[in-house]
């Protein structure tokens, strides 16, 4: 198979990952990069909550998503909903009732697959903040080209050229589907091919995360 992706990657290869924790002085923070896509996530909490948002049996999770350019719109609101519902299913919110866990995601560079990058950055920041979690979430995007080939972790250019775009998030333990967003026109078989390839790529992301955490712990960071 010829390597004809814009950056000479294999079809199923993810871009190089870079992870940095304790990036800003908050309760927890992390910078996650997929190649030239970078998202900085910072966590505050569990902290005091406004009476209006208070929940008596669990922590309130608040997500803010700030775009690279311009002000937040409906696209960012959708990302916020996705992040929040994903986090609500993995964070042990019942351990901290009547508190607020605030998550802020700031896109630093956008070169495609930004939602997947944001989910991974949030995972790393939550680990850094020491928030109790049942599991962790990892996400990978992919596109289906017009000729049917599937490209994992596409760059912006590759997303523009292709019709259907998919983002999958999996949990680490059972690799079940946490979140999926697929738009375009595709067949059932194509969808499950994307699903399986993304799952394999997600395993790679998990390995990278594991290595990064190990490195940070052994070096006392």
């Amino acid at each position: 198979m010829s390597l004809n992706r814009v950056d000479k990657r294999k079809f199923t290869e993810i871009r190089p990952i870079s992870i940095e924790q304790n990036y800003v002085n908050k309760d927890g923070s992390a910078l996650f990069k997929f190649g030239d896509s970078a998202v900085l996530c910072s966590i505050n909490g569990p902290t005091e909550v406004k009476v209006r948002d208070e929940k008596l049996d669990k922590a309130t999770i608040d997500v803010l998503f700030k775009p690279w350019i311009g002000s937040p719109g409906t696209n960012e609101k959708t990302h916020e909903l996705v992040l929040r519902s994903t986090l609500e299913s993995i964070i042990q919110a019942n351990l901290h009732p009547r508190t607020l866990i605030q998550v802020v995601c700031q896109v630093l560079m956008d070169d495609g697959s930004i939602l997947a990058t944001a989910i991974n950055a949030t995972t790393m920041a939550l680990i850094n903040a020491g928030i109790s979690m049942r599991d962790i979430a990892v996400a990978v995007s992919c596109v289906i080209c017009k000729d049917g080939t599937i490209l994992i972790d596409p760059k912006e250019q590759e997303i523009e050229e292709n019709q259907s775009f998919h983002t999958f998030a999996f949990n680490k333990v059972s690799l079940n589907l946490l979140f999926c967003e697929s738009f375009g026109v595709f067949t059932e078989k194509q969808y499950f091919d994307c699903y399986e390839l993304s799952k394999t790529a997600a395993q790679e992301v998990i390995n990278e995360i594991h290595n990064a955490i190990k490195y940070n712990i052994t070096n006392g960071r």
């Binding site: 927890g28 909490g45 569990p46 508190t99 607020l100 680990i127 020491g130 049942r134 962790i136 949990n171």
Partner: protein, 294 residues
């Protein structure tokens, strides 16, 4: 038997345990038949007790822990105290030694207190008191003057468990020089200290801050504990030859020494640098033979 580390874990990892009655510490949760990690860190084990040694900055109150707090308000018969957790802690007026309805503590907003958490429950605001279990002050109470710094919870726990060693050696060295220092380590990520001179406070602050991110802290601790032995053997041998050497070992990754001749300083410097990667035994051996090099 000490706790020993098993492996680094991530949230969601399963821990396989053979024994049926086990004690789970922070970072672990039981889900039906399996044990799940909920934090990233190093899994520690001692017989049937397990916990995860992890780091974070936000404090979650736990009964019996010592904390440094700041008074932020008075409501009725209690002070409201900021201890860095999600909810403000309550400090009743009567939770001081010898406090009665008439003899109230006189604390103002902004004052710092060293206190013990007497009640911690996720559904209720935490309560603290400035006495030990026998209603004695025992070091708790208002922290007058001084300076407070914030650091990570794991670092505070580390300092807290080492505090007797650190304070003893600090005491010995500093009182000789007439410097007095008072320290209160809170497990909520806050350290308070008070010195007579501002200069000393700055030095101490820098030392504490630097030591936080130090990776070879263990090596320095070894050096620290070996200090007396090293100095004794050096003293005997060197004074015979008329060489005098003064050494101060800081836990903050800095060692100071002074010799009469520059030549000796260079030799000593090289010896120290070499010894950095050595084991304890080798280290002692080398210092014993140091006199020959001079």
């Amino acid at each position: 038997m000490e706790f020993r580390s098993v492996r680094t874990v991530l949230p969601g990892d399963l821990v396989s345990v053979e024994a049926s009655d086990i004690i789970l510490g922070p970072g672990l949760m039981q889900n039906e038949e399996s044990i799940i990690c909920t934090k990233a860190g190093v899994l520690m084990k001692k017989e049937n007790s397990w916990f995860i040694d992890s780091d974070q900055k936000r404090y979650i109150p736990a009964t019996g822990e010592n904390v440094v707090g700041r008074i932020i308000g008075k409501v009725g018969e209690v002070y409201r105290v900021d201890i860095g957790s999600a909810h403000q802690a309550l400090l009743p007026f009567l939770a001081f030694e010898n406090a009665t309805k008439k003899n109230r503590p006189a604390l103002n907003i902004g004052d710092l207190v060293y206190a013990r958490i007497s009640l911690a429950n996720r559904d209720i605001d935490p309560e603290i008191q400035c006495t030990n279990l026998d209603n004695k002050a025992d070091g708790f109470g208002e922290l007058k003057k001084g300076f407070m710094l914030k650091c990570s919870l794991r670092y505070c726990r580390r300092l807290f468990s080492l505090k007797t060693q650190i304070m003893e050696s600090l005491d010995k060295k500093l009182t000789q020089k007439g410097i007095e220092i008072e320290v209160a380590i809170g497990l909520n990520g806050r350290i308070w200290f008070c010195t007579e001179k501002v200069k000393h406070a700055i030095v101490f602050y820098n030392a504490l801050k630097e030591a936080e991110t130090m990776s070879d802290a263990e090596l320095l601790e070894i050096l620290f504990s070996l200090k007396t032995q090293i100095m004794e053997s050096l003293d005997k041998k060197l004074t015979q030859k008329g060489i005098e050497i003064e050494v101060a070992i800081g836990l903050n990754g800095r060692i100071w020494f002074c010799t009469e001749k520059v030549k000796h300083a260079i030799v000593f410097y090289n010896a120290l640098k070499e010894a950095e990667t050595m084991s304890d035994a080798e280290l002692l051996e080398m210092f014993k033979n140091l006199d020959r090099k001079f």
